[in-house]
Symmetry: C2
DNA sequence: CCCAGAAGTTCAATATATTGAACACGATTC
DNA sequence: GAATCGTGTTCAATATATTGAACTTCTGGG
C-alpha cells in the first residue's frame, strides 16, 4: 500500500469543498459579502458560484439579505446542536455534574478548540451570578481562556507556534497573557500542575480552571472549565477544585472512551 | 417570468445535496450509523458514499469512531456559532429585548422554519421556571409550536399542504393538532387573530403565543414566541400579551428591515 | 438621457464526478 | 477451519457538473 495518494487531499467533490470554503469564508469575514466578492476571494468562476449559491440558499446553508449580500444560513445549527447533544462529550459532562454535587454550585463550561479560538459548546451556568454568562456558540481567544490553554497545552510546541504565526490576539484585560513566549511558559506550568488557569485574563475578577478532555485515542478533543469569582479563588481552593475538575474531565474522557 | 422551473428543486449539485442529506440524517438518528446504513437509508450507491464520506471526513463534517461509525463532525459548529453571532435576526432579537422591558419577565424565543420543523435560534429564558428550557439549536415540529404556526400561516395554502405531503408529525401531547385539516383551520383562526397559539400542544401545561417576523419584502423569516404556564393564560391575558408580542415582532421586523 | 461598469444570468463544450460491477477484507456461523 | 455475509475499496464507462464567453440588467455619472 502506498502511504499517500497525491490526489487525495487535493481535489475531489469540488462542489462540496467549495461550499465548505464559502461557509468558512463567510464565517471568518465580519462584513457580509456579495457573490462577486466571494468569487474574487476564493477564485471561483462566476457561473460556478451562481449555481452553487442557488443550491446552498435552497438548502438553507446561506441566506441573502435584501441587497443580495450573503450570510450563513440556519441549517448548520441543526447539525451542530446534534453534535453537542450526541457527542458523548456533553452528555457525559451533564451526567457527571448531575451526580457530583461538589461542583454543581459552580459555572461549568465545555469548549472545543478551533485554530486559535475556543467555541463554547455547553455550559451549566450556576445560580450564583458571575457577571458573565457563557452562551453556546460564543468564542474567545484560546490563549486567554482556561479551556483554551488546557487544549493548547496538549499540542506539540511547534503546532502551538504555528497556530499563532499569524499574530497573537489582542489582550482582553490587563492580565491577559501578551505573547507566545509567555503563553508557552504558562502552558508549561499548566502541564506540570495538571490543570490550567485563567486568572482574570478574559474578565477581571473572574478566575477559571480548565482541564483537557480526551477521546479514546488520548487525543484532546475538548476542554472543561469551572469559573468562580476571584475572591473565592484562594490558593488552596484552586488546588482542590483543580484536582476535582481534572477527575471530572478524566471521568468524561473515560465515558467517551468506551 | 415563469413561476416555477422544474429543474430547480430537483437535482443540481448532487454532491452537496447528498452531503446535506447525510448530515441531516445523522442528526435525526439517535444511534451512530455505519456507512452502509446511510446508503440504505438515503439510497446512495456505496461507491458514491465512499468518496463523499472521505471528503466529508477530511473537511470535518463527519467523524468516524474507532469502529467506523459515523457522527456529525465539529466543523458545522463554527458556522452556526457565526450564524448566532452575526445573524441580523438574532442581534435584532437581543437589541429589542434589551430595550423593551415589557415582556422581559417572560420566556421569549425566536425560531426559524425549516421544512416542517422550527429551529430555536435565540431565547431569553425568564427567571420563573416553566419546566421547560429552550436550548439553541433545538427543533420541534412546526405544526405544534406557536412560532411554527405563525410562520406556516404566512405561506400559501398549497405550500403548507406540500410540506406535509410526506406525512403529518406524531403528536407530542394529547392536545397536539392531529392532521393537516385541523392545522389549516387553526391557521385560519391565527390569521384572523394576528397571532398564533400553542395551547399545550408541545408540552402539557405550557401555553405559547407566536407572531411572525418579516423582512423588508414582507416575507416571514422567523417566529417570535412567548411562553407561559397554562394557569397564567387567561383569555384576556392571552389577548393582551398577544398584542404586545405582535408589536415586539413588528419591532424586530423593523430592525432587520433596514 | 445615454453610456460605462459591475453584478448577475444563461448556454454549449469539456472536464469531472458518479455509478455498477468486480474485488478484498473481517467477522460470524456452521 | 471453511464458507458466508456484510462492509469497505477500486476501477472504467457514462452521465453530469463546471466553465468561459456572450448576454441581460441595474446603478451611477457625465
Amino acid at each position: 500500500m502506498d502511504h499517500k495518494d497525491v490526489t487525495k487531499g487535493g481535489a475531489s467533490v469540488p462542489a462540496l469543498r467549495r461550499a465548505v470554503a464559502i461557509l468558512d469564508h463567510l464565517s471568518e469575514t465580519s462584513e457580509e459579502l456579495t457573490a462577486a466578492d466571494l468569487c474574487r476571494a476564493l477564485k471561483i468562476p462566476k457561473s460556478t458560484a451562481h449555481g452553487l449559491l442557488q443550491a446552498m440558499e435552497e438548502l438553507g446553508l446561506v441566506i441573502r439579505d435584501p441587497a443580495g449580500r450573503l450570510g450563513i444560513g440556519p441549517r448548520p445549527m441543526r447539525w451542530s446542536s446534534r453534535f453537542l447533544a450526541k457527542s458523548d462529550l456533553v452528555s457525559a459532562f451533564r451526567q457527571h455534574f448531575d451526580r457530583d454535587a461538589r461542583l454543581s454550585g459552580y459555572t461549568i463550561t465545555l469548549t472545543v478548540l478551533e485554530e486559535t479560538e475556543v467555541v463554547y459548546v455547553a455550559c451549566s451556568n450556576s445560580s450564583q451570578p458571575l457577571g458573565v454568562t457563557f452562551r453556546i456558540g460564543m468564542r474567545l481567544p484560546a490563549a486567554f481562556t482556561a479551556t483554551g490553554k488546557a487544549q493548547l497545552a496538549a499540542l506539540p510546541e511547534a503546532e502551538v507556534a504555528a497556530r499563532f504565526a499569524g499574530g497573537f490576539p489582542a489582550p482582553l484585560t490587563r492580565y491577559s497573557v501578551r505573547d507566545l513566549a509567555a503563553l508557552r511558559a504558562g502552558l508549561d506550568r499548566d502541564r506540570a500542575r495538571g490543570f490550567s488557569v485563567d486568572d482574570g485574563e478574559t474578565r477581571e475578577g473572574m478566575t477559571c480552571l480548565g482541564a483537557p478532555v480526551r477521546n479514546h485515542e488520548g487525543r484532546v478533543v475538548a476542554g472543561l472549565a469551572l469559573s468562580l469569582t476571584r475572591s473565592e479563588a484562594t490558593a488552596e481552593k484552586v488546588e482542590e477544585l483543580g484536582a476535582q475538575l481534572r477527575s471530572a474531565a478524566d471521568g468524561i474522557s473515560a465515558l467517551i472512551g468506551g
